[in-house]
């Protein structure tokens, strides 16, 4: 049996007294479009930082494509692409210079890096600004160039932290199509987003983290079935196909929408 593309064993990260990620056991199979969800401060970004080598775990293990991340960091990183939360851009380079640089950092020869750079800039509709420095790009353009940099070496696994935030609808559509094609060809995509509609449309499998603990994991259908069987969903929703938002609220937010009127801020207009 093939080992999953991403595996964590008892992954834990502490910041002083705060346990940001607590004993997480996660498994993502190869070729999955995997959505990683959680409320603000649940530990999503901390997890993705540990999975990509930006943050050391306090304890536990991470295996990527069968290799231990801490023992073989260079070999693992060669097969992984990342768009981190704070975009890892060298903002005094032009888009083309940056992509060639990233390509070379990932071991591409100059000719290949140059060829792929031209193709990516064209695909991302960034090719008409050859002399513009990244510092002068808009937020959406920065996201696009960060995504281009994450895929220039043809990674087998892609980690995306809020990749569509600030990207216009047309560009987002193009990017989603590109990502879906990547999974069709066998790449694994690990995505976090607050926009549940995007996750629902793109992802085949989802995990939900709450207060540092993994509280749900599986395919969307498995989660639907699990939640429908529980008592957290209202009668109205019980007979319909549950949306991801309903599943999410049922798992991490039971009671949040059940505030009595007298508990609300009465002085608000």
């Amino acid at each position: 049996m093939m080992e999953p593309a991403i595996v964590t064993e008892n992954l834990t990260r502490r910041f002083g007294d705060l346990v940001a990620v607590n004993q997480m056991n996660l498994a993502v199979d190869g070729g999955q479009f995997f959505g990683f969800l959680g409320p603000n401060g649940a530990g999503k970004s901390t997890t993705i930082k540990m999975l990509t080598g930006l943050l050391a775990p306090s304890s536990g293990r991470i295996r990527i494509l069968g290799a231990d991340l801490q023992q073989n960091p260079v070999e693992v990183k060669r097969q992984v692409g990342v768009v981190p939360e704070e975009l890892a851009l060298f903002d005094r380079l032009t888009g083309a210079e940056f992509l060639v640089f990233v390509g070379r950092m990932y071991g591409l020869d100059r000719a290949t890096a140059t060829q792929r750079t031209a193709e990516l800039l064209d695909f991302m509709q960034l090719a008409d600004r050859p002399k513009t420095l990244l510092t002068d790009y808009s937020h959406g353009m920065k996201k696009k160039i960060a995504l281009a940099a994450a895929v220039i070496h043809g990674p087998k696994i892609l980690f995306l932290d809020e990749p569509f935030e600030g990207v216009d609808a047309i560009a987002a559509g193009t990017l989603k199509a590109m990502l879906t094609r990547m999974t069709d060809r066998g790449a694994t995509i690990f995505l976090t987003s607050h926009v549940l509609e995007i996750v629902e449309r793109l992802c085949s499998h989802v995990a939900i983290i709450h207060r540092g603990k993994l509280v749900a994991q599986g395919s969307l259908e498995e989660l639907r079935a699990g939640v429908a069987a529980s008592a957290h969903v209202g009668d109205a929703a019980a007979g319909e196909k549950l949306t991801l938002e309903q599943i999410f609220l049922a798992i991490v937010g039971p009671g949040a929408s059940e505030r009595r009127p007298e508990e609300e801020l009465s002085w608000l207009v």
């Binding site: 943050l55 260079v74 851009l89």
Partner: protein, 557 residues
């Protein structure tokens, strides 16, 4: 709406903001790093305070002595000193920050007078303003003691002069802020200020060579100076001392006109800000690319624009990136030109026919190593905080399949190349302005640079990983961490002292061939230690990654 019946008064609003500033200050002291920084700041502040107090005492005594003799021309010295220091020093220090944090307060219902007063209050707490006010107070006391009859006049004229300076400073900052909201303008401004700094050295050299010929032209410009504030302030006190207090009124009124003029210009700028002008938008509009039929990037063009691959793998990419960053960093680039200009000025001055021969001034055997040592002190600092300009890009260095050993090696190759280029430029510079140094001196100096550079890389790599500090592009104000400054200071002086001692001993023994041999031997030993140490940086970088990303990826607030 209960509790929000009316807006707070101006005093109340300023009080709330003062409380906020205090809270922010207390919260910044929570981390150990910030407390270290505060200790450093207190130490630097104390030194600056002592300097300001000493200068103030000197100016007070000077004023007293000359005022007793009835000579008030001397007042031009403190008045010019104050206006230059108050207006230029803060701009040099802040370089080109685009936003002052108090502007964020405009989202709240702040009254305009409160905003206006806050802007002025920020100007009063600037170190240069505090020092200038202290100096003016010392001059006033000197005048009071020397001529008690001039108390009121001195207070009025110097008070008006101080107010005019304060308003000029705030007005200049407010307008500069608008100008500097464009990145390119910021960089040009930094370049101009740096050139202004070195121009004083050049003026001195030019003055020594062609001073007599230039004097008649300078005399022609003298009457125009009489309408400038320092001359008006001097004239007010001087006239009152000669013919009575009323004679001070016209110069005083002119100082008032200056103050009102600057105040109105400041008010106009602040009104625009108060009514919602967003300089970020202004900057974005300036940076926005106009619609045009731009050529698309082709693979051939990218390839042609890139440097040739002369190093293996990612190392070449890293070195190339360092050079691209240098070319786009006006402040850092000019730092490299600075030593060349200053050494040119010194060489011109010392090499002039009127200069008497001294142990260093006419001897290239001393001048060349001295010039290289001076350049080294400036350029080698790059190695102490090697990740300063990476910003969020530091994450990529951790995400990419590259060893930190290679990252640091690339940075050392970059700094080493700069040192070689600068040394090679200094050689013809000294040769042309004085005389060519001997081959032995050349060999000794190059070997000394190699040894010193290797030691610097050895220590600098460790400092860069342990005590990183983010620097902003286009900003002249760059303060490394306290530990980096301390280590760098000790290292620089120990090395310069050691190299100088070897050179002097070899020269004293009349065996200059000893110096290159000693340095070559030391370099070989250091190179071995450097190479072994380089391999340990992978682990250190992994251990320090959170500090590095935390310090470098997020802009400082």
């Amino acid at each position: 709406m209960a509790g929000v019946s009316r807006l707070q008064g101006v005093g109340g609003q300023i009080g709330v903001i003062a409380g906020l500033r205090w809270r922010v200050f207390c919260n910044t002291l929570r981390s150990k790093g910030s407390r270290f920084d505060m200790v450093g700041l207190v130490l630097v502040g104390s030194i600056f305070g002592l300097f300001a107090a000493g200068a103030g005492l000197g100016l007070g005594i000077l004023t007293y002595v000359f005022a007793r003799r009835g000579d008030f021309e001397i007042l031009l010295v403190p008045f010019w000193l104050v206006i230059l220091f108050w207006q230029f020093f803060p701009v040099l220090l802040s370089g080109a920050t685009t936003a002052f944090e108090y502007r964020q307060l405009l989202r709240f219902p702040l009254r305009f007078p409160a905003f206006f007063l806050l802007t002025i209050a920020y100007g009063l707490f600037d170190p240069s303003a505090l020092a200038s006010l202290l100096w003016l107070a010392c001059v006033t006391v000197g005048l009071w003691l020397a001529r008690p009859d001039l108390r009121i006049v001195a207070l009025a004229v110097i008070g008006a002069f101080a107010l005019m300076n304060l308003l000029l400073n705030r007005m200049a900052f407010a307008w500069l802020e608008r100008l500097l909201s464009r990145r390119r303008a910021r960089e040009v401004m930094v370049a101009l200020f740096l050139l202004l700094m070195v121009s004083f050295q050049l003026f001195t050299a030019v003055g020594r060579r062609w001073g007599r010929q230039l004097m008649p032209y300078l005399r022609v410009a003298q009457p125009a100076l009489q309408v400038l504030p320092p001359h008006l302030a001097r004239k007010g006190i001087d006239d009152a001392a000669r013919t009575g207090g009323r004679a001070a009124i016209p110069p005083l009124l002119w100082l008032g006109v200056y103050a009102v003029g600057f105040g109105l210009l400041l008010e106009r700028r602040l009104r625009a800000q108060y009514h919602g002008e967003d300089l970020q938008e202004f900057a974005a509009a300036g940076a926005a690319v106009r619609p045009r039929a731009a050529p698309k990037v082709s693979a051939q063009k990218i390839s042609a624009a890139s440097a040739r691959a002369w190093l293996p793998g990612p190392l070449a990419g890293l070195v190339e990136k360092e050079f691209r960053y240098l070319l786009r960093n006006t402040a850092a680039g000019l730092t490299l030109v600075l030593p060349l200009i200053i050494i040119l000025a010194i060489s011109l001055s010392w090499g002039s026919a009127r200069q008497r021969p001294g142990p260093i001034s006419r001897s290239p055997e001393m001048m060349f190593p001295g010039a290289v040592a001076y350049m080294f002190l400036i350029v080698a600092q790059y190695a102490h905080n090697a990740f300063a300009y990476e910003g969020a890009g530091i994450q990529l260095l951790f995400l990419a399949p590259v060893r930190f050993r290679d990252v640091l090696l690339a940075k050392n190759i970059f700094t080493g190349t700069l040192l070689v280029i600068e040394t090679l430029l200094l050689w013809p510079l000294v040769s042309l302005t004085i005389r060519p140094p001997s081959l032995l001196t050349l060999a000794g100096t190059f070997a000394g640079v190699l040894f010193a550079a290797l030691i610097h890389f050895l220590v600098g790599n460790w400092l860069s990983l342990k005590f990183p500090r983010r620097f902003e592009f286009g900003q002249f104000k760059r303060r490394a961490s306290g530990m980096t400054i301390l280590f760098g200071f000790v290292l620089q002086f120990a090395l310069v002292g050691m190299v100088a001692a070897v050179l002097l001993i070899a020269r004293g023994l009349g065996r200059m061939w000893l110096a290159p041999l000693v340095f070559a031997a030391l370099s070989v030993a250091t190179l071995q230690v450097y190479w072994v140490t380089l391999n340990s940086y992978d682990d250190l970088a992994v251990r320090e990654r959170e500090t590095l990303i935390g310090q470098l990826a997020r802009p400082r607030t």
